[in-house]
């Protein structure tokens, strides 16, 4: 049972007592926990509906202890829009990978953000397609090796990796957009604050909120968990700067 921010090992009520299928060292589990803690702290669990993506977190509904919808690949923002418009009193969040949100679901996320749909998106950016076995994602770094760019991503042929936080921040509609990372304890604490703020903005019916979380995929990056966090820090952080990109209080940063 979760009690306070100092109870480090308590299980949040918003998480079920079950073992996840994520690979050892994968940070999906950490991110799940941050979302569950925010829901608990704000007392939202009983009126929250999550929307699971297609990707490694496709089974998120087995781990969260709240109502859930399982979306087609990339369409979570459309499902969330339909749900939230029908029941504005509910709290809705989508949980999406980079292939899901930045590739097949690019249209849905851009338009949902632009309409300022009052739901929260947790965007897990691990720069690769995890579930299908490590193919190139729109967020894969230049030169990064994946199974569909075995010689490294060639930006002359595939374009530059897409920075979603920046891209959505270019919209005129005010929203809350922050990029965080979960590769170290300090970063996890900062990420937790961001996730909580995202839900607070929704609960106050203020704006669309998205937290982009830099995440690891030790399995498909072909690294140990600790090498993965080092690689994230070395490489992803440089191309994907952390920070608050948009906030309804401050505007663009």
């Amino acid at each position: 049972m979760f009690q306070s921010e100092t109870t480090i090992f308590g299980r949040p009520t918003a998480l079920r007592e079950t073992v996840t299928h994520y690979c050892p060292g994968c940070t999906h589990g950490v991110i799940h926990r941050l979302v569950a803690e925010a829901i608990d702290q704000l007392g939202l669990r009983e009126r929250t509906v999550g929307v699971a993506p297609v990707g490694c977190s496709v089974l998120a509904y087995n781990y969260f202890n709240c109502d859930f919808l399982e979306s087609p690949h990339g369409r979570a923002p459309a499902l969330a829009t339909g749900y939230k418009r029908s029941r504005p009193d509910m709290i809705v969040f989508t949980y999406q990978g980079d292939g899901d949100l930045a590739s097949i679901g690019m249209s849905e996320i851009v338009h949902a953000a632009n309409r300022n749909e009052k739901f929260t998106t947790i965007f897990v950016n691990n720069a690769i397609y995890g579930m299908t076995g490590g193919q190139m994602a729109p967020t894969t770094l230049a030169g990064q090796v994946t199974s569909t760019c075995p010689a490294g991503r060639d930006i002359a042929k595939t374009g530059h990796p897409i920075r979603m936080a920046e891209l959505l921040s270019a919209l005129v509609t005010p929203t809350y957009i922050e990029r965080v990372s979960v590769h170290s304890p300090q970063h996890i604490i900062a990420a937790k604050r961001a996730v909580r703020r995202a839900f607070e903005y929704q609960a106050a019916n203020r704006c669309f909120s998205m937290v982009e979380v830099l995440s690891t995929c030790p399995t498909n990056w072909g690294m140990t968990p600790s090498d993965s966090t080092a690689w994230l820090e070395e490489n992803l952080l440089k191309y994907y700067p952390l920070g608050v990109y948009r906030s309804p209080d401050k505007g663009a940063v």
Binding site: T81, G82, R87
Partner: protein, 365 residues
């Protein structure tokens, strides 16, 4: 309530509202955009949800989300737009979510044209999206019937927890006819929507999904769906007969507004002393198979004529159902061309001439 003159598209929109659907998503496409325009005006008046989405892909998935919340949800589109919704329709069928989708069909394939056609019959009745699933498909032939079937559609969607499609062609959407709405919309009681995701308060979480990674569980799910489709086949077939009598030599099979044109043909032929009957399916899934077989097998029927605004899509069902018991001829125009009564009449006279010649050859031989 007095009859009022309404355009088909607007009458259907009003019927959806009166059936209690206060959630509508859309993306404009001819020839049904009036539904969206009507909803844009009416939904704020009735406290409903109106949203113009970024695409039909999004519309379909917004329906998915909204239906999960337990609301009655509605959208309208036309052929290319319906193709884009097939993803969500398959997912909704898999997750057993009700919704009503109106397809005011236009000519295809591809971008095709904007004029009336019936060329989405196979897509509507045989799946359209991926997987072992069916949607209930209703085919009105007048504006009044479109109103009635739209209301019935919401009931059937909830009763079976399944997507329902109303298929009309561009004509039914665009024509104006007098319609009457029931004073108060009444329908048989339905079980409570205890499957809806409304927040896990005082109960375990509800998950609405179509994913079943265990093949045995997925097969079981398909068996559950199949049982539902069988029940539909047993309980929901609807059809109408027009001037069916022992004097008929030919039976026309036709649906939607095309069937109405065939009624004119039948009336005109009657004055010339030629007796033809019409079998009009109202539900095209489930198809009224038994009824058609019975009519087709009547002794007086020498041949069947299937008339469609397509290259012969329902024809495949008619052939399957009649199973060679009678010769079947087909007459169709497509691309947005509506067959004239004279064209259909000529086809029937040709059939009678060749039947008569064949009969007299048989007698001589």
């Amino acid at each position: 309530m007095a009859k009022i003159l309404m355009k088909g598209n607007e009458a259907i929109a009003e019927a959806a509202i009166r059936a209690g659907s206060l959630v509508y998503f859309c993306y404009p496409i001819t020839p049904q955009t009036e539904v969206a325009e009507y909803m844009a005006k009416r939904m704020p008046e009735v406290g409903g949800v109106f949203l113009q989405a970024e695409s039909e892909i999004a519309v379909g998935n917004m329906l998915f989300g909204a239906s999960s919340s337990g609301r009655r949800v509605f959208t309208s589109s036309s052929s290319p737009g319906i193709s884009l919704m097939q993803e969500a329709i398959s997912y909704m069928a898999g997750a057993q979510l009700p919704c009503v989708i109106l397809n005011i069909m236009r000519g295809g394939p591809g971008l095709g044209g904007i004029l009336p056609a019936q060329s989405d019959y196979l897509q509507a009745t045989k799946g359209g999206g991926h997987g072992d699933y069916r949607v209930l498909v209703l085919a009105p032939s007048s504006v009044q019937e479109a109103v009635d079937l739209t209301m019935l559609g919401f009931h059937l969607a909830d009763k079976y927890r399944n997507p329902v499609m109303i298929i009309g062609d561009g004509m039914i959407g665009q024509m104006m006819e007098p319609v009457e709405f029931p004073e108060k919309y009444e329908e048989p009681e339905l079980p409570p929507k205890d499957w809806a995701a409304t927040g896990a308060k005082g109960r375990p979480p509800i998950v609405i999904k179509s994913l079943h990674l265990d093949p045995y569980v997925l097969e079981d799910n398909s068996i559950v769906l199949d049982k539902k489709y069988r029940q539909m086949k047993r309980d929901e077939p609807r059809y109408e007969l027009y001037k069916v009598s022992p004097g008929n030599r030919i039976l026309i099979v036709s649906y939607g507004t095309m069937a109405r044109i065939c009624q004119t043909v039948i009336d005109e032929l009657e004055t010339e002393g030629i007796s033809v009957g019409l079998f009009r399916p109202i539900t095209v899934f489930p198809y009224p198979e038994e009824a058609l077989r019975k009519e087709a097998n009547k002794k007086n029927i020498e041949s069947i004529l299937t008339v469609e605004m397509s290259m012969g899509q329902m024809l495949e069902d008619v052939e399957r159902i009649v199973q060679g018991a009678r010769p079947i001829k087909f007459f169709g125009r497509t691309g947005g061309i509506v067959p004239t009564p004279d064209e259909v009449k000529e086809q029937i006279k040709k059939m009678i001439r060749s039947d008569t010649a064949a009969n007299s050859r048989k007698k001589r031989g």
